[in-house]
Symmetry: C2
Subunit: 376 residues, 2 copies
């Protein structure tokens, strides 16, 4: 094992009182693992939309300017007043970033479970992954097979567990098919494979003909282009055919969630024998789990009174689902890491490159088909 | 007992293919009770917003014109094309109206439970109450104490059971306080009394200073005027104080549901110890149970990811709650009919008066403080 450096280069995001966002690299002291902990050299860590929520938040990246401090890059950007209200809780606190990652265990504490991981490739969940090293409890590491490519192990948690969670929610709430938006994403492609293998009808909604081709190429049966003129009719036809009454929406803003609920209602009314002024009594549910469009959500409420729209977040779902379900989900992720749960990265960048304003603007655009991996 | 007439004057609502709404009075044959049924002379039946959904639906009452047929009044109005799509399921079927009512049992079937009701004053639920007589199973009647004023017995179901259901939902979902909009309504006043007696903190939202005075006059503690400039701050303060994370909204359209969820989130974040980019993990729920504003609902989603917005309807709630709960709720309604559940009617009209276009326009406006009772 090579000698460890004294410092641990770490990315920090700071919201300043005056309405300024500062993203920087800092030399923090190298952490020392306690008995139950391991020190991991981070080899790959993805930039997920949820990471950008913490890294950039309400900052206006079009105002980003680069500088340096102690020879390390710094980005400064303006936060509009409305954004500052939303970020009031984190003013003055330089926060580390990065939900998940993959790396090699280079130093361990005295406990047997920590010792057992020395030299192993592990997947990590727990924040602060945008750093060269991360020290955390052995229990928060998931051991990966020998020879796993760190790029494959970097996204073991957020997308794989979220896409699996969608099917768990479906079963728990008594639905039999799923609608998914922004479906050409890495997560969407995983969901296509899960549903194909589990026999779950999945209606994929994407925003371009290229994305239709992409998903059909991996075997998706229902792929609808929301920018097509026939979209609402196509959606209704797919919902009549599949009977899907559950949707997961990564977009959030605009009318899409409302369109989905409306089409579900048309499909449900078609199955009814008698007219009811209240619409169908079929419960229709859409979960918003992302905010690709941060604008307001508009609901026309032309879908009766048996409907729900809710936020969805993986962590509280897993807490509710319990350790047995979560254990089963995790096992499936490891078993199918290079097949179902294979992530595709369009760009691999260093920590320093991540602090280039042009690169920041590119990954902050969250374009479907573009996914960034940081190799610290 | 007086001789029964041959005909039963009944109000009907018909949507015609060409986009026309026709509301009429018709002489239907007098029904004859079967063994388990009773025939009730309807003495009082309220016009609830849910009745207007069936009576008027998407019809444009500003186009209403009066005529007569066989000496009985007819109203005709235009239905805009968008409205016709929503009403496609009922085209060509003349539908009777009126969810609930109160009357005297004038004729009964052979079964003991039907016989037991002869001459009694009963509250009725089951549609087709806008008529001089209603024949229905004895089991669908709720016997009222001797001497009950039909006006008091007319609204035994919809408003009393809905307001009680709000408190049942609160307990079932683990909330401890309630927010209610359009709170000066008959239903809102019942809820004020229920919550006062049950010790449930209730945040009432109304739209004018007069309504604030009205609710304070019956002992409401938190009454907020949504047209006041300080509304959002007032709401946040009330939610911090009460900890309410459950709302029932009769308005539906506009930003109010979003404002409530946003204020709940500010209150929840105030209780948090550490910052989370996802907002609080306190689940915040608003149910839309009415549509006083039929326009779109706009959600700014500045309330984290732990939230839900759903439709609410009494009937599926009661089916889910089960007979024991519903029985307890009904008993309370009868016990407190002239106190907690006393309805106030601003206008009493006949079936014929209900078919005057000016009167129709007035009750269809659903103004808080104005409530119509039909005495057939």
């Amino acid at each position: 094992m090579t000698e460890l450096p004294q410092d641990n280069l770490t990315m920090l995001s700071l919201v300043k009182e005056g309405g300024e966002l500062e993203i920087s690299l800092a030399r923090l002291p190298m952490p020392q693992p306690r008995d139950h902990e391991v020190l991991v050299r981070v080899l790959a860590t993805p930039i997920n939309p949820s990471d950008l929520g913490l890294l950039v938040g309400a900052g206006d990246v079009s105002t980003a300017r680069a500088s340096t401090r102690d020879g390390l890059p710094v980005i400064t950007a303006t936060i509009p007043p409305a954004g500052m209200r939303a970020m009031a809780g984190r003013v003055g606190e330089a926060m580390p970033i990065g939900n998940e990652g993959c790396g090699t265990v280079v130093k361990v504490g005295a406990s047997p479970e920590a010792q057992a991981l020395l030299g192993k490739t592990v997947a990590l969940l727990g924040g602060a992954m945008y750093a060269q090293y991360r020290c955390l409890p052995a229990a928060m590491c998931m051991e990966l097979p020998v020879g796993t490519d760190p790029a494959d192990g970097a996204s073991c948690f957020v997308n794989p567990l979220t896409s699996l969670a969608f099917t768990e929610v479906m079963r728990r709430e008594g639905h039999t098919a799923i609608v998914h938006t922004a479906a050409a994403s890495n997560l969407g492609q995983m969901l296509v494979k899960i549903c194909a293998s589990d026999g779950i009808p999945l209606v994929n909604i994407v925003r371009s003909a290229e994305q239709v081709a992409l998903l059909q190429g991996i075997g998706a049966k229902y792929v609808l282009n929301s920018s097509a003129e026939t979209f609402q009719d196509d959606l209704t036809a797919a919902l009549i055919e599949t009977g899907a009454t559950l949707g997961f929406d990564a977009i959030g803003g605009g009318k899409l969630a409302s369109q989905i609920l409306g089409a579900m209602e048309v499909a449900a009314v078609k199955r009814m024998k008698t007219y009811s002024r209240y619409g169908s009594d079929t419960h229709k549910q859409v979960y918003i789990y992302g905010g690709l469009d941060l604008g307001p959500t508009t609901l026309t409420r032309n879908f009766g009174l048996s409907w729900g729209l809710s936020g969805f977040l993986l962590t509280p779902f897993m807490a509710k689902a319990g350790p047995e379900t979560v254990g089963r989900m995790r096992k499936r992720v490891v078993d199918e890491l290079t097949t179902t749960f294979k992530s595709h990265y369009s760009h691999k960048i260093s920590l320093t490159e991540a602090l280039n304003p042009n690169v920041l603007a590119a990954y902050n655009a969250k374009r479907t088909g573009e996914k960034y991996l940081i190799c610290p």
